[in-house]
Structure formats: C-alpha cells, structure tokens
C-alpha cells in the first residue's frame, strides 16, 4: 500500500475470474452478424469485437461482408450466459 492508504489498480493482483466458469460461451462464426448487442451487458467486459479470420470468412461467405465477430476473453468470463441470452441470432451457445 502506498503512503496515505492509496491502493493503485494492478490487474495482476486481481482475481482471474475465468476460473469461476462451469459453462463456456462459444461464438458460432456462421451465425454472428457483428451487431454488438452482447458487448455492453457483459458484467465482466469480456466481449470485444474483432476482425474475422480467414477461416471464419470461409465458414459463411454471406456473413464475411460483416466485418466483425464477437470475441470472448476466457480469462475473466464467469460464464453467466447473459451474452447467449441477449444474442438475437442465438450465435452464442453455452457449452459444458
């Protein structure tokens, strides 16, 4: 602790909440339309949009024009399932 009782943010000291998870959300590249609906409600800010990889573009050429796909950070995702519930395309599936 610093002088004056100040505690500074240090991500390394924070708990890695990913180990709470018992169901794992997985993004189906053939269904995700990149609408970003799941990003804001995620309690752990674990979802970020990223460019589609070449393989993901091949999975669904129709969706390849949509530039982005949801990407989940499993280091902090607690597996609550809010993203799967809000997804309008049912593109996120909770797997054991």
């Amino acid at each position: 602790m610093e002088k004056g009782g100040i505690i500074k943010h240090d991500l390394n000291k924070s708990p890695k909440t990913g180990n709470w998870r018992y169901v794992r959300p997985e993004v189906d590249a053939s269904k995700c339309i990149g609408c970003t609906t799941c990003v804001l409600p995620c309690p752990d800010a674990s979802i970020e949009m990223r460019r589609r990889s070449k393989e993901e573009k091949k999975i669904s050429p129709k969706l390849a024009q949509e530039k982005e796909i949801a990407d989940i950070d499993y280091e902090y995702c607690k597996g609550c399932g809010v993203c799967a519930q809000v997804c309008p395309m049912k593109a996120i599936v909770m797997k054991k």
Binding site: I7, H9, L11, T17, L40, P41, D44, A45, Q85, M94
Partner: protein
C-alpha cells in the same frame, strides 16, 4: 477484456456471475470523457470491486462508511471549489459520481443524500436498486417490493412476505427541487447512457435511480438479468422516465402492458404468491402498479 469498457472499472472484480451492477457503472462513467472521482456507499459494488490488496477502479475512488456516499461527494465538491478559488482557471474540476445501492440510499444514506441535494453540490448520485441488502443475504429494505420473500420478512404459513409498499424515492428526491433526475433500468443501457450524459452536464446535483435485477436474491438463472429487467419495464412495474426542471417525460410508453404475473413468475422470491391463498396479493400488486402508472401519466400531462 474489452479495452474501451474497462477504462474506468476493470475486469477481475468479484460481482456474482450475471450481475448487472458493473454494466451500470461502466455505462454511467462511459458517458463522459472528463476526469471523474467516484464516491461509493457500502454495498455489493464496494465489497466486490475493492478486495484487498487489489482494486478494480482505475479512477480515484473513495469509500468511507455505509450511509455516507453523498456526504463524501459533497466534501469532494467543496474541496474542488476551494482549490479552484485558490488556483483560478488553471484547475479543471473533475466530475463527481456517487454510487449507492438501495440500502445505502433509501434507508441508511437518505439523510446524507438529502443534505447534499439541499446544499446544491455539483455531483451525480446513482442508486442501483436491487431491492434489498443483497451482499448480506437479502434482508428487506425500503425498496423491496410488496409481497417479496426476504430473509427478514420470510413468506410462510402466516406471512406472504413484505407487507409494505416500496418507498417512492423519486418523489422524495424531486422534492429537493433539483434540476435533473431520472429512472432507468440496467436492461436498457443506451437509455441509461443518454440519461447519464444529461445528468453529468447538469450543473448542481442530479440523480439516477437504476433498476438492477439481482440473480442471487431475486432467484433467477444468472443469464437472465436483461430479460427480467425488460419485463419490469414492459409490465409498467418500472417505467422509464425523467424529470427536467419539474417536467415529467415518460421515455417508453408501453401500449399493451403485460400482466404483472409475467414479471413475478420469473423470480423465486415471488414463488409463494402463486399459491391459491396468496391470489389477493398479486391482485393488490397489479392494482398498485396500475395506480402508480396512472399517476405518472397524469403528472406528465400536467407538467
């Protein structure tokens, strides 16, 4: 980890899986690009984000005692005013945001909040309302709805749960004559962001009351906080509205409100109300929801 969202409140905090509080905090703090100082009442948000020796806060954050979030915010405001008097235009004051749960706002923090509003300090108070003292196991508070089963008013053979109606905090805060206050919902984050922007740009005190469905004590699956929150608004249990200079605006006029049972049946804390002997309680809840909505519509018409 989403870089943009975790700018002010980082990941790696210990709120329950499926809790709406971090989304509320990120949305409110994300509504401004200016510096912010956060004051926090004791509650779920405080105990889960500040576990020694780590902190999830990347902005200056103060927690003093349970009922004291508004008084601390008032102190920060007074200090900033004193510094800016001394330094003149060189000093740019930060925005002050106080977060409190319903226990730290409706019950224990009410006099500190009232004092800070009355003195006209320049700050935003955000109350996340999950209807009880959730981090100590779900005791009743002034915000717990009628008929809910809680640890201190358990439903059973004699009792149907809480026998009192919720306190109308919006009217209490409005009575202080503040410029901007609004009721929002964790399930409608773009609406919350717009309201937070308005509130932060209002000089003097402003207030936001945000519904926060609690997966643990309301007893629903962790994935459902958005769905339950949406039902609260769609049944008119939690209308979204704002009051600017005394003028009421209802943000979502629900044309065909769903019956209140739709909202109640999603949650374990109302399970006992669906027994034959508690039918009257559900009728009473529906009656009060309708009356409150009628009152609100009238206020919006005359103001």
């Amino acid at each position: 980890m989403n870089k943009e969202l975790s700018k002010k409140l980082s990941s790696g905090h210990a709120t329950c899986a499926g809790c709406g509080i971090p989304a509320i905090v990120r949305t409110v703090l994300g509504a401004t690009d200016e510096d912010v100082i956060v004051s926090n009442a004791t509650g779920c948000l405080e105990v889960t984000t500040t576990i020694y020796p780590s902190t999830s806060w990347k902005v200056p954050y103060i927690h003093s005692v349970f009922g004291n979030a508004a008084a601390t915010a008032a102190g920060i405001d007074a200090a900033q005013k004193a510094i800016s008097k001394k330094n003149g235009k060189k000093f740019k004051p930060a925005k002050i945001v106080a977060f409190g749960g319903d226990g730290g706002t409706y019950d224990i923090g009410l006099q500190a909040l009232s004092g800070a509003l009355e003195r006209g300090h320049d700050f935003l108070y955000v109350c996340y309302d999950n209807g009880g003292y959730m981090n100590t196991g779900g005791q009743r508070s002034g915000a717990t709805p009628y008929g809910a089963n809680t640890e201190t008013v358990p439903a059973g053979i004699e009792s149907f749960g809480k026998t009192q109606q919720r306190k109308d905090l919006m009217e209490i805060v409005k009575a202080h004559g503040i410029k901007y206050l609004a009721q929002a919902n964790a399930a409608y984050l773009p609406d919350l962001k717009r309201k937070a922007q308005k509130a932060l740009n209002t000089p003097g005190p402003s207030f936001l009351l945000v519904l926060q469905p609690c997966t643990q004590v309301w007893k629903f699956p962790t994935s459902q906080y958005v769905a339950v929150g949406k039902l609260a608004t769609e049944t008119n249990f939690w209308p979204l509205y704002e009051i600017e200079d005394g003028k009421y605006t209802i943000n979502n006029v629900v044309k065909n409100p769903k019956p209140i049972e739709e909202f109640l049946k999603t949650q374990g804390r109302f399970k006992h109300l669906f027994a034959e002997k508690n039918k009257d309680v559900v009728v009473e809840i529906q009656k009060v929801v309708n009356e409150n909505m009628e009152k609100l519509v009238k206020k919006a018409q005359i103001s």
